[in-house]
């Protein structure tokens, strides 16, 4: 079993994902794949890539759900990657110390040199966020792009996770959720951001922003339920006459 940091720092880096505007385009998933297949967990192996039963390692996956019925049904696109929990079971279950949580920023990482591929962590993770690389025999997972966010070879503006940099609708945000004054913390406060399955007690760092209320009723935009026909003599064309001769 692996210990959590004895004195976790205040900094909790993570993602805030806005489900109100995520269109499910997979940009974040593929950009994550291309960054990380050459990055810290390289490679993200693809088995049988041009045949049937293709199975690749992806650190970020997009799920789509429908709820409700008919015209009132709702379609939600739901990107999911490691949530970098405050008390991650994937770490405490790890028999070798491969899976660990960093004290300095809260990122949960796998040290592949220590990983024996026992998969206990993937059983322990309630979010299904871990990816086993059959070819390498080790577990892989979101690193929050640890080789981008501190990378001095990149311009400062680029030091964010690949999924955040590439998201076309800007539904993904990166920052310190341990700092209540950070942009991401404020966003969570303003929009009612929430934890996934908080009852599990793992205190995920990543937050999701819920869809905004839809406006489909009369009055929602300030407009009436219907327009009122012009009452002038001569009807609409009479009104045109009057309007033009003002």
């Amino acid at each position: 079993m692996t210990s959590l940091p004895e004195s976790p720092g205040a900094k909790r880096l993570g993602l805030v994902i806005d489900l109100d505007i995520c269109v499910g385009c997979h940009a974040c998933a593929v950009n994550c794949k291309e960054w990380n297949t050459g990055g810290y967990p390289a490679p993200l192996t693809d088995e049988n890539p041009y045949g049937s039963g293709t199975s690749g390692v992806w650190l970020n996956r997009i799920h789509a759900y429908e709820s409700g019925e008919g015209a009132n049904s709702r379609t939600v696109h739901f990107p999911k990657s490691c949530l970098h929990c405050e008390t991650p079971a994937c770490v405490t279950v790890c028999p070798t110390g491969a899976s660990y949580k960093r004290a300095e920023d809260g990122i949960v990482l796998v040290d592949e040199d220590l990983c024996i591929g026992c998969k206990l962590c993937s059983w322990a993770c309630p979010y299904g966020a871990r990816e086993y690389d059959h070819d390498a025999g080790v577990m892989k997972k979101c690193t929050l792009c640890i080789d981008r966010i501190y990378n001095e070879n990149l311009e400062e503006v680029d030091r964010v996770p690949a999924c955040v940099a590439t998201c076309p609708v800007s539904a993904r945000h990166f920052g310190d959720l341990g700092d209540p004054d950070s942009d991401v913390s404020r966003m969570v406060a303003d929009r009612g951001g929430y934890d996934l399955m908080p009852e599990q007690g793992y205190q995920p760092t990543n937050k999701y922003l819920p869809p905004r209320p839809r406006r489909t009723e009369a009055g929602d935009t300030g407009a009436a339920a219907a327009l009122t026909p012009v009452a002038e003599a001569g009807g609409f064309l009479g009104w045109v006459d009057r309007m033009l001769s003002r």
Binding site: T2, N31, A42, P43, P49, Y50, G51, T216, V240
Partner: protein, 961 residues
């Protein structure tokens, strides 16, 4: 025992080297043309990301663009020129050298050019170099040229350009920053992909309302405030019902209509006369309006007229004339457009239509956007601020791909114009070089006398017809072009009709051809209607054993399904291996705030014996001695290939393919002498050029003096006259008058009634043709496709990453409709149209119109193609709807069969399809149908890896050396 953290060495290299070199270029994973930064490490691509400074994508990159590494790495890349050795379609080839391949091609083409240039049909698919390919066709002398627009979006282009002098997507965009109310109609999720996503994110954060009108609720529609799951093909009726509501309530912008549109122009009412329905004009040809002050007709183009919008006026010659606006009001105030009347047909409740109309009016007239930017109109009048009606719209393929799409697109523009929301703050905005006159020149070349042996055509093969005299028809009214574009079958076929070429060439209707030359067009598969029939046509022979289509040359970078059906294959490079140009002469990357163009530069050297198609075309042109491609001494004019052409070719003096850094020192933009250092300047500037408009030029471009002067100086328009929005389209009426027996060029008898019906000068709605051809009881369902955001047509299927997202499409079926047929999740069903039947696997869905089934486009693959394994899910479970879609409409009384297309533009009517569904029998195998023989691999294909470890070599990379 727990592992104590402090005992472990936890060194993580947080600053690994990312690149030896970063190269900028332009993406081509779809038609969006985003700027990308390609990080190269050890001679391989380490990472591709969006270019933050680029006007199209501003740093973001979609799934397709991010998968560019796998496109470059694909084992489906062709590697050397191929010559067919077996039967056509058997996929048996031998490798040949380039010199031989080009000699063979030049030999075939030379013979054609010396005898009858029409016998070359040159059609390019998802081409982004039409400024070159169209011009090349003209130099060769064949009118038989087009790209893929005829089966993609010509209804949107033509509907827009003939109405407002611009169009959705290519030539305009919503004012994402200011709009309060945004309506999106039938948009494919792979079109304009990043700008739309950036825009939707922006407007939703601002709290604007987003309404999506689409039978299917996926991607964009899923985040809409309101989704209207309209019945396919009824959007025009919905739009005209909104027009009805707005007119009835007086919620139209009369001032805008008087200033900027032809609403006040007088239309002659002279039933039976030659000029009935045309504009009343003065002696100089200017349109007339009725001036309320002078109480007399006046030139409607004068700045100080006070025109009437209603009334019936008698002109000096005694004829009667009526303002456009009155005709329009009378038509759309009619009760047949009342929401109660259209609710059933559209599937949208009357109360919803009324509410949407009220919301549009509220946004337009109660939430005006005011920008404190003074501007000057075309007549020199200064306006202290820019006032806008913040209603914006966007529409694409769901409108376009119906046989009523042209008029539906016009109906949407009519709605926008009545609200005064074209090129105003918060509205729909033109992108330079648009607006242009509606319609602009030039007209299509290839008329009688313009085509003959060894001579170039006097103009481009595609253009905008303005009346019957511009058609490409013989004296007897029969088509001049092989695809019948610009004939009475499709008089305004501005993008040509690629979808008709193979069938017409096979039939010899209107005449047989010699060589079919295609580029990047998967016409034996997902780009054809009636794919199986098309395969038969490509392989069909005369009794003497010769092929009905004698020769086929094809260029593609990959082993697509079409390769097996060609006689000569000219292998293209990938987009990362070549020069390219996204030109203002073609489909540029401009945005509403600036003119822009861009290039691709090679960022990686090909490891195969392949050549960029554009180089090949220029080489062939020189071998053939085409006038624009050879010097007077017969030598090649562009020996340096495409980059040489990009820099040195001038379309007219000073105007070339690239607008940036022209002139002696690269100091001229727009026009200027060729600059030998031009491409270097592009590379220095991240491979694009952009000229930002001043704030006072950014809106009201159709009537903004400073913008119009600029546009004229840049060569976008011939002169700085304002562009008047054409609610009433006189070119349509001219065709209709010809059908009524007027003028020197009239349709043959068989076409008259059709032309008269569909060339209405005001927008009309009629049911999609397939609805009229099929009985609702036999074929109760609509069947359509959508484009996934993570895949572009065929080209994504061999991409190891993208195919993990979309590897096998399902048939999405409304849950209630499935329940009625006892069909459950993952069941197999037969889908049956009047043309054919396919077998597919079902997925149930709520967010879909109750009478519509749909699937993702172009995911199904033929076994063996694209170097996928024969049992790949794309082939075994994936499927195409194409097999259900007839390329022709049923026979008319006179035996004639029109293309399955819009009668105005010839746009392929993919989404008209009607079907019924039957549950497959339990003993029917779990494989999609139809299945075809697996294609064998041609010589030179890479071996498919069974394990891909891309990037392994980049692991544990230290910090920068």
């Amino acid at each position: 025992m727990p592992q104590p953290e402090r005992t472990l060495d936890r060194h993580v290299e947080t600053s690994p080297q990312v690149a030896d070199e970063v190269k900028y270029t332009t993406c081509y994973m779809c038609a969006c043309r985003c700027g990308i930064k390609v990080h190269m490490l050890d001679g391989q691509i380490r990472y591709i990301e969006g270019n933050r400074d680029h006007p199209i994508n501003r740093g973001v990159l979609c799934a397709k663009g991010s998968a560019g590494i796998m496109q470059q790495n694909s084992p489906a890349k062709l590697s050397k020129p191929l010559r067919r050795v077996g039967e056509r379609g058997a996929g048996e080839f031998e490798e040949i050298e380039w010199d031989e391949a080009l000699d063979v091609a030049a030999g075939w083409l030379r013979n054609i050019r010396e005898t009858d240039p029409r016998k070359l049909a040159f059609f390019t698919g998802r081409d982004q170099s039409q400024a070159l390919t169209g011009w090349w066709a003209s130099q060769f002398g064949t009118p038989n040229y087009a790209a893929h627009g005829g089966f993609c979006s010509v209804n949107m282009a033509a509907g827009g350009i003939y109405t407002i002098g611009g169009s959705f997507w290519e030539f305009g965009e919503p004012d994402w920053e200011h709009t309060r109310y945004f309506m999106m109609f039938g948009v494919a999720e792979d079109h304009d992909s990043n700008p739309i996503k950036i825009g939707l994110g922006t407007l939703k954060r601002r709290g604007a309302k987003f309404v999506s009108i689409n039978p299917v609720k996926t991607g964009y529609s899923a985040i809409a405030d309101e989704w209207l799951g309209i019945n396919p093909g009824s959007d025009g009726l919905f739009a005209l019902s909104l027009v009805h509501e707005l007119l009835k309530a007086g919620k139209v912008d009369l001032e805008y209509l008087v200033r900027y549109t032809n609403a006040p122009w007088l239309v002659l009412r002279d039933p039976g006369g030659a000029e009935d329905g045309l504009f009343a004009r003065d002696g100089d040809g200017n349109p007339l309006c009725w001036d309320r002050t002078a109480e007399a007709p006046r030139n409607a183009l004068e700045a100080d007229v006070t025109p009437a919008l209603k009334g019936e006026f008698t002109l000096a010659d005694g004829r009667t004339a009526i303002p456009v606006f009155q005709l329009l009001a009378e038509r759309y105030l009619d009760g047949r457009y009342d929401p109660d009347e259209v609710a059933e047909r559209t599937g949208i409740p009357a109360a919803t239509i009324r509410r949407i109309a009220a919301e549009l009016a509220h946004a337009a007239f109660s939430e005006e956007v005011v920008l404190e930017v003074p501007w000057t109109d075309w007549a020199g009048r200064r306006h202290e601020r820019m006032i806008g009606r913040p209603v914006a719209m966007h529409a694409m393929r769901g409108i376009s791909a119906h046989s009523n799409g042209f008029h539906t697109c016009r109906a949407l523009h009519l709605l926008q114009v009545l609200l005064g929301s074209i090129d105003v703050p918060g509205g729909f905005r033109y992108k330079p070089p648009f607006p242009r006159p509606a319609p602009p020149g030039p007209k299509p070349a290839g008329r009688v006398g313009e085509v003959g042996p060894n001579k170039p055509m006097p103009g481009p093969p595609l253009g905008f017809t303005q009346g019957p005299e511009d058609l490409l028809v013989e004296e007897d009214g029969s088509p001049i072009r092989i695809d019948k574009a610009f004939s009475w079958d499709a008089p305004m076929a501005a993008h040509g009709m690629m979808h008709s070429v193979i069938a017409n060439a096979w039939k010899g209707d209107p005449y047989p051809i010699d060589t079919l030359f295609m580029f990047m067009a998967n016409m034996s598969w997902n780009s054809a209607m009636n794919s199986a029939g098309t395969i038969d046509m490509l392989t069909d022979k005369h009794e003497d054993g010769s092929y009905k289509i004698p020769r086929i040359i094809y260029s593609d970078a990959y082993y697509s399904e079409m390769v097996a059906y060609a006689d000569l294959i000219l292998p293209d490079t990938t987009y990362l291996e070549r020069w390219d140009c996204i030109s203002l002469l073609d489909r540029p990357i401009c945005d509403a705030d600036g003119a822009a163009d861009s290039i691709r530069q090679p960022v990686i050297r090909p490891d195969r014996d392949v050549r960029p198609f554009q180089d090949v075309l220029i080489d062939l042109g020189a071998r053939l001695g085409l006038p624009g491609l050879t010097n007077e001494d017969g030598s090649a004019k562009y020996p340096g290939g495409y980059p040489d052409y990009l820099v040195n070719h001038e379309r007219k003096p000073g105007i070339g393919t690239l607008a940036g850094w022209r002139g002696d020192n690269g100091g001229s933009h727009g026009s200027g002498a060729p600059n030998p250092g031009q491409l270097d300047r592009y590379i220095e500037n991240q491979c694009f050029w952009r000229d930002e408009l001043a704030p006072n030029q950014r809106y009201f471009k159709h009537a903004n003096k400073d913008y119009l002067d600029y546009a004229a100086s840049m060569g976008f328009i011939d002169d700085a006259r304002p562009v008047v929005l054409q609610l009433y389209s006189e070119p349509l009426q001219k065709f209709r008058q010809a059908a009524r027996g007027h003028g020197p060029v009239q349709p043959p008898e068989i076409h008259r009634a059709r032309v008269e019906t569909y060339f209405d000068p005001l927008p009309i709605w009629y049911p999609p043709f397939e609805d009229l051809e099929t009985d609702d009881n036999d074929y109760p369902l609509h069947a359509i496709t959508q484009r996934p955001m993570a895949m572009y047509h065929s080209w994504g299927s061999q991409n190891a990453w993208l195919r993990q997202i979309h590897g096998a499409n399902r048939l999405y079926v409304p849950r209630a409709a499935a329940a009625r047929l006892d069909i459950g999740e993952e069941d197999w069903v037969w889908l049956i149209s009047r043309h054919g039947r396919i077998k597919a696997q079902v997925r149930l869905m709520e967010g879909v119109n109750g009478s519509t089934v749909w699937t993702w486009n172009a995911i199904g693959k033929r076994a063996g193609a694209w170097n996928l394994a024969g049992d790949a899910p794309e082939a075994k479970r994936g499927f195409l709807l194409n097999h259900l879609i007839d390329d022709l409409l049923p026979e008319r009384d006179n035996g004639y069969r029109y293309a399955n297309a819009d009668p105005v533009t010839g746009q392929a009517a993919w989404y008209d399809l009607r079907v019924r569904m039957e549950k497959a029998l339990p003993d029917e195998t779990a494989v999609s149908e139809p299945q075809f023989d697996a294609l064998p691999l041609p010589p030179g294909m890479a071996k498919r890896p069974s394990m891909l470890r891309y990037g392994a070599g980049f692991r544990n990379r230290g910090t920068k050396a």
